[in-house]
Symmetry: C3
Subunit: 401 residues, 3 copies
């Protein structure tokens, strides 16, 4: 019994004309069926590894992963910028125009939006499903190559799961890259996820997961990293570049960390707490906010104005400690016009703690703004008395000397 | 001469009935013997890679690694929770009940406790031995599946070593997962080590090593991460979940770092400095202390009370900077009953530096307690004057405004 | 068409005597030529993976990589210390004396200094070239094995590039390990780069790159990590040991991060900002400065004296927050003799922000020195009024209580 499969050597029973070049989805589903037919003992289902050598594959049929311990791996995330290409004009003299490596073109003809769906009912949750070191390429956003919409999703984990890994992957020109529902102890590390509408979305709920050591940058319409209902999430060591509508977006998350990341954005709302986010740590990150420099994308933004804050806090008892903020927006570009931009907005919540944050800006900014609805916020060494605006009646403040 | 071995295709000379399914230890020892017989020139011993495909293997004979540059790798750490399974009652309807991936069941019949022992006398130290991406499964803790004892150790590095790596491994239900003695420039990264008595123990002495980007959670009897006699150890970017008796435990360690981790525990003593630990940095971590929520494990704890501190410092000149503490214990659960819990206890040592730490708690806590034996501690912006208890006569204190 | 190559099974057309043991460069160049002859469609050039099994290979001809999406990978970085060996005297009884794993001896006879050169003219830039998990061994520094010069370079990226990766590599006894020019979104992670003149040099310009989770230590003549003209570089989670002339050296870099690293050096100038470096974050790092303990290397140093600073800042608007400094130099070893050593020197630039840094030293030190040319520096909780020396006329200062 083999547990090591290669998509280029697999023959689909009853369908000799199927190839991974025509439809790698068909091939992988057939391999998964084989794994299930081989591994029938409840006590011993070790799974398998499916290897995708470097090559150019089309996926027309969604892969349905419903076994634990399956690794799907390639040799190369194969990222290249399609955004640059599609905005470059004549590329006829270019060496190459497409991503590569173990490149799977997401071209479903089966009515599904996802290239891979990980889903199983019953117990236990799927465990240790691994996607590693291949490329999911959405190919095109259609008539407007800068709109980041094509209905395509790279990988959808659609039922509760444990100890899964997405590592070393490349994703490009998908409307949604990675979507993981109800996850526990997930690892998203070492990936290159860029030029997707959204890159990482952790939906529903989750705990004890990590998003670490990635290079990530979404489109202006979506999320670079989104987490909903998570607790104990660790987002550290990532280089998150533009142009996601946010860099890290938490919705009703608690007791999580955003630390030691480098964050760069062209819009406000870089770290965006939505709903009620409590007891989170935002520490030791480097924030850079600039204006969009790329002509083709200058028409777009995330719709937020400069009063929203680079860090927007909704919820109490969070800690924002030891961050550096570089705000590089000329006064004429501030929105609303004539207003003073906000770096950290405490929009709601009590007892937030904001200490030793340094802001660098060429124009006057409000380094911290405490909404009137907030209470008990402590602001230490994060701006002077003109920079820290206190609409709240109850707060502690120590100006940076 | 091959240097690429596969345990499933290797025949043990003189023992044709040996298979990796019966005893993978016998197979790997035979492969190592082959490597040694092939590589006899002092100037050229490149080692080899031994591949363990996904599968279900038993190890009955300890593997003795006594060559440098050996990589033992699989395709999948294969973690699944045995703790959930063993406490779930009837699992007859479950899809699967065991870990998977490249799963090695640790079932020694040779009188040894370890699955793998890395050991060599003479010079130089063993270098660049690598364990990568397979599963070491202790299978069971015996009559009490919640006692975390079975005498089994996953990997023991038993002599001084240099530049070794343990990466992408899974370990479960071992009394001791990884034990490394006298190590230099070790890398323990990207692993999933959970539901072991202890997960990572760096014993004896060590320097310039790193434990990074792991998901780790030991049993209540042991260590998630333990280091003894180390200097220059870097523990960063880990998500350390319950229920180790500590999250990171240093014994006589100096000049090391615990930074940007997410730490979650059900007992006091999350970062525990034993003996004399000096000049270490504990920075930018997220600490969460809750009560054990899982009925089967509620009877157990680590024996420490809430006066011990979530961070317990023994030794001087350490820095504790920019951490977030969430203490979520109802007053009725505090031990000793009626006492005020301690977040950071400076139990001994001079000139510790504690700054810009934020504590969130539903009940009154002492954010910092300075033992009377201590001297020269500086406590800045880490609690108000009621929260920072100063039994010492010599200290500096600035209350959080 | 294969896209998976093995250097040990490839035959060079027209050159049947070529082997990877004699000249792996010839082999790999021949494979690359094959890739190019196979992949001629502009729309589909997925590249390939070239595998180097564990073994002992000589490289006499430089490899020229001019295709995107090429992965060159081995099984083992194979580091062992040549410095210890060459200074050990009689090693005739040693088990082994050389590095191993997938070991490529850099022994060019083609007049080139580099083992690998990545270079292409025209558009687009080379993307997603990957070096992974093999060893580049410079073998010897010649008549003086402690001088770190032999003219050999491991890998030179010599034209602009995007999304490339150098991961899990080992390098030893090269004058220059990794040199990358004009890079975008580079990943240098999980490597073991030591005992090279310089380890990582990012030259020219660059953006949005990361150097993370490495073990690195250069020779006294060169750089452990050097970056020039970069912005948005993230240097985090590295354990950087001696003896580079600096640990992290920025030249005209801006808006970059050095966070959560462990840094250890035998000379001043550990974090060295040259030219004008602005808006960078140096946070949550552990610095240790000691004297050279190894007799054979005691004659050498980097030529800087103790007034240079462990952190030397040239340029404005940087943040230095939450670092720990251990300065372990006996008074008799201070240079210039009788002077008070400097921990953080703000040598030039306005509006630097230095907060909550803790210094531990057995002798009196100046924790922060503000040059008279600087303006607007803020120094908070980073030393007392004797320790923070203010030659500047314009600054803010709050002494550590």
């Amino acid at each position: 019994m083999t547990t090591v499969y290669d998509v280029t050597t697999w023959s689909v029973p009853g369908n000799p004309s199927a190839t991974p070049y025509n439809d790698i989805g068909l091939i992988i589903n057939s391999i998964i069926a084989d794994i299930k037919s081989q591994q029938t003992s409840q006590a011993s289902k070790p799974g398998a590894v499916i290897y995708i050598p470097p090559g150019d594959y089309s996926l027309k049929t969604r892969v349905n992963v419903d076994v634990s311990f399956l690794t799907i791996r390639g040799s190369g995330h194969g990222f290249t910028s399609l955004s640059i290409r599609y905005n470059a004009g004549n590329t006829s003299s270019w060496h190459e125009i497409n991503p590569g490596g173990s490149r799977v073109r997401v071209e479903n003809t089966d009515g599904n939006g996802e290239a891979f769906r990980v889903y199983r009912t019953g117990d236990p949750r799927l465990s240790s499903v691994v996607f590693e070191n291949f490329c999911l390429d959405g190919v095109s956003f259609g008539s407007n190559e800068n709109d980041y919409t094509n209905g395509k999703t790279g990988i959808l984990f659609d039922s509760a799961n444990d100890s899964c890994r997405v590592e070393g992957m490349g994703m490009v020109y998908l409307e949604r890259g990675l979507v993981v529902k109800d996850t526990d102890a997930l690892s998203v590390s070492g990936n290159f996820l860029a030029e997707c509408g959204s890159c990482v979305e952790l939906t529903g709920s989750g705990q004890a997961s990590k998003v670490t050591d990635n290079l990530i940058g979404a489109g202006y319409v979506g999320f670079s990293i989104f987490a909903e209902g998570h607790f104990g999430l660790l987002v550290t060591g990532n280089n998150i570049f533009p142009r996601g509508k946010s860099s890290v977006h938490f919705k009703n998350c608690t007791r999580s960390s955003i630390t030691a990341n480098r964050l760069h954005a062209f819009y406000p709302g870089m770290v965006n707490f939505e709903g009620s986010c409590t007891e989170n740590l935002v520490g030791n990150n480097h924030f850079l906010r600039q204006m969009e420099p790329f002509d083709p994308l200058k028409p777009y933004n995330n719709g937020l104005d400069d009063l929203f804050g680079l860090v927007h806090i909704a919820g109490g008892s969070n800690s924002v400690i030891g961050n550096h903020f570089s705000f590089d927006v000329p006064s004429g570009s501030v929105s609303p016009s004539g207003q003073t931009p906000t770096i950290i907005l405490v929009a709601s919540g009590n007892n937030n703690y904001i200490a030793t944050n340094n802001t660098v800006s060429g124009i006057a900014v409000h380094t911290v703004v405490l909404d009137a609805s907030t209470s008990g916020c402590k602001v230490l060494d994060s701006g002077d008395s003109n920079q820290v605006v206190r609409y709240a009646s109850n707060y502690s403040f120590r100006a940076t000397p």
